[in-house]
């Protein structure tokens, strides 16, 4: 539209590019460092090109945190699936089958999304202990399902609220029951929100540290806890290449998901923020 490339356009692009650099550089430094030898790290600086690229940091890191990586997988996958199923059913009831008290319940649930978890940690740890689930991945699955439920329900409820309830009424007149309506009518149209919910839950649970450090120990720790232990042990010489490689290992799954399904990730973030 405007023919001359104005000064302000140049300034805008320059600012945006500079910002891109600021956001990207830490990732670049992590990658560079993870492939450096300890020699390079001592002699060079953050952005200096390594003399030799070596995967030794990655191998050592995998030795250190690989087992915990699988713990995280074992915790995350069931917790994500279960909390999504529960959220979908809850959201379906809250949006389409309101009854006296269901709005109050939704209010209580919404409030739960904002709770600082510190305030439930102690009783939750007693309960997990009583159930014999202390220091097990199952215990963490349970915890993540319970405290992730508020968000998954919120996602599905808000999605289903935007679907005209005439659909449900039409299906009832057609003779369909509660689960038939859910399975045949609503679920086939829920792909976007299922994606949002899965991705949100995946990043939340994979990235969790608080529950992991409180409810797991030793062999059952998730990768975030293991990474933190690795980085913050004061014994022995610091191997920054190993630290960075371990951090990359811990961060890769969520990064990959973000790159592949960024659209849904963003929608989850904003849906969580702008509650309906």
């Amino acid at each position: 539209m405007t023919k001359p490339v104005s000064l302000s356009r140049v300034a805008i692009y320059a600012t945006l590019l500079a910002a891109c650099a600021v956001y990207l550089i830490p990732l670049v430094i992590m990658l560079l460092t993870s492939f450096k030898s300890p020699e390079d790290i001592r002699t060079g600086n953050l952005l200096s090109w390594p003399e030799v690229f070596t995967a030794i940091g990655w191998l050592k890191a995998w030795d250190g945190v690989g087992g915990y990586f699988w713990n995280s997988v074992k915790i995350t996958i069931p917790a994500v699936l279960i909390s999504t199923v529960i959220g979908a059913l809850n959201g379906y009831v809250l949006a389409m089958w309101r009854f006296r008290g269901s709005q109050l319940f939704f209010g209580l649930l919404l409030f739960g999304c904002f709770l600082p978890f510190q305030v439930v940690l102690l009783p939750a740890s007693f309960t997990i202990g009583q159930l014999g689930l202390a220091n097990t991945t199952s215990g963490l699955v349970l915890i993540h399902v319970v405290y992730g439920m508020a968000f998954t329900t919120l996602f599905f409820r808000n999605y289903y609220v935007s679907i005209p309830d005439a659909l449900v009424r039409a299906a009832r007149l057609d003779g369909a029951g509660f689960f038939t309506i859910f399975g045949r009518i609503l679920l086939p149209m829920s792909t976007p929100i299922i994606m949002v919910c899965l991705i949100w839950q995946f990043t939340q649970i994979w990235n969790d540290f608080l529950f992991g450090v409180v409810f797991a120990s030793g062999d059952t720790q998730p990768i975030t806890v293991a990474l933190n232990n690795l980085v913050n042990t004061s014994t022995g010489a610091k191997e920054y290449n190993v630290d960075m490689a371990a951090a990359m290992i811990a961060g890769l799954p969520t990064l990959v998901v973000y790159v592949l399904a960024g659209k849904y990730f963003l929608r989850g973030l904003t849906a969580g923020a702008v509650k309906g």
């Binding site: 940690l121 009783p123 319970v146 933190n228 990064l255």
Partner: protein, 302 residues
């Protein structure tokens, strides 16, 4: 068919159908009531007991709160939270809004740039903390890099400086979350009625003026949401401190979440920890209640 039935009895299956929605929701309702509200009450009770490593229920009244009041570390943690929260929220908002406005100028490859701004949000705070701990490493991090690049007198050792370590947390947290603020505002900007902007252009307003006086003021609710989420992140911040500084040096970079964890689970001060958790809840409520109130009131006006 033609006989007048007074009332047709519903079959058992119909009765079940009628109850199904409630039955499906019931377990979740129970879990929410117990696991959220019951446990809050339980923590509240514990905060009035002398529980140490194990819970006991000998009533000590407000003693734990009094101990908190007298506890130096708690005060440091609380002040840190104010400082950290204030800076983190303020800087994130400014950067987020700025980037959103810039991205709203029909930028080429906008999607790509947006992806870059937002990716830190996908990372765990532990990963972020680990990365920034390395970047800010006194002696090997940015400190050394800038000296290598010829800035001889440069010193950057905030990470081990008790007076400045909180700023390190702010830097890492802003890096992680400002892209999210950008995304929120960009979505908000896209929702602004374009005819308002055209009307302002016709009235002769310059672009910066249009944004400052017309567009941004109309994004009040987005500001509010962002503020809400950011303060929530700040109050809950635990992973970042744990991975970057572990509260150190000393307890110079302690935050309430860290304080609560340390006293409850490693130092055997369960009662004190419970009391600090309740105070954290109080802080969240102080922000949340006006937020929900205005949200609900706004809904009623629609």
């Amino acid at each position: 068919m033609s006989s007048i039935a007074v009332f047709t009895k519903a079959s058992p299956l119909d009765a079940l159908q009628r109850w199904l929605p409630k039955l499906v929701l019931a377990p979740s309702m129970l879990i929410i009531l117990v696991g959220f509200y019951g446990y809050i009450l339980w923590t509240f009770l514990l905060s009035f007991t002398s529980s140490r490593f194990m819970p006991n229920y000998s009533w000590v009244g407000l003693q734990q709160y009094a101990r908190l009041w007298d506890n130096d570390r708690w005060w440091v943690a609380s002040q840190n939270l104010l400082l950290f929260g204030g800076l983190f929220i303020g800087i994130s908002l400014v950067i987020g809004v700025l980037l959103a406005v810039l991205l709203d100028q029909r930028i080429r490859r906008e999607g790509f740039i947006r992806t870059i701004f937002l990716y830190p949000m996908a990372l765990s705070m532990i990963v972020t903390g680990t990365a920034w701990k390395w970047l800010l490493n006194p002696g090997l991090g940015i400190d050394k890099m800038l000296r290598d690049w010829g800035w001889e007198g440069f010193r950057f050792d905030w990470l081990v400086d008790p007076d400045r370590v909180v700023y390190c947390l702010v830097i890492a947290a802003v890096w992680q979350s400002s892209g999210f603020v950008m995304a929120l505002f960009l979505a908000g900007l896209r929702g602004v009625d374009q005819s308002i902007i055209r009307a302002a252009q016709v009235d002769g307003a310059s672009l910066p003026n249009i944004y400052l006086r017309i567009v941004l003021p109309s994004l009040g609710p987005v500001f509010f949401s962002a503020l809400m989420i950011l303060s929530h992140i700040a109050i809950k911040s635990f992973d970042l401190v744990a991975s970057m500084t572990a509260g150190g040096p000393g307890y110079a970079s302690d935050l309430p979440a860290m304080f609560m964890y340390a006293h409850t689970f490693t130092r055997g001060q369960m009662g004190l920890g419970a009391a600090s958790a309740i105070l954290m809840l109080g802080a969240v409520l102080a922000i949340l209640v006006p937020y929900l109130y205005s949200e609900l009131r706004g809904k009623r006006h629609d």
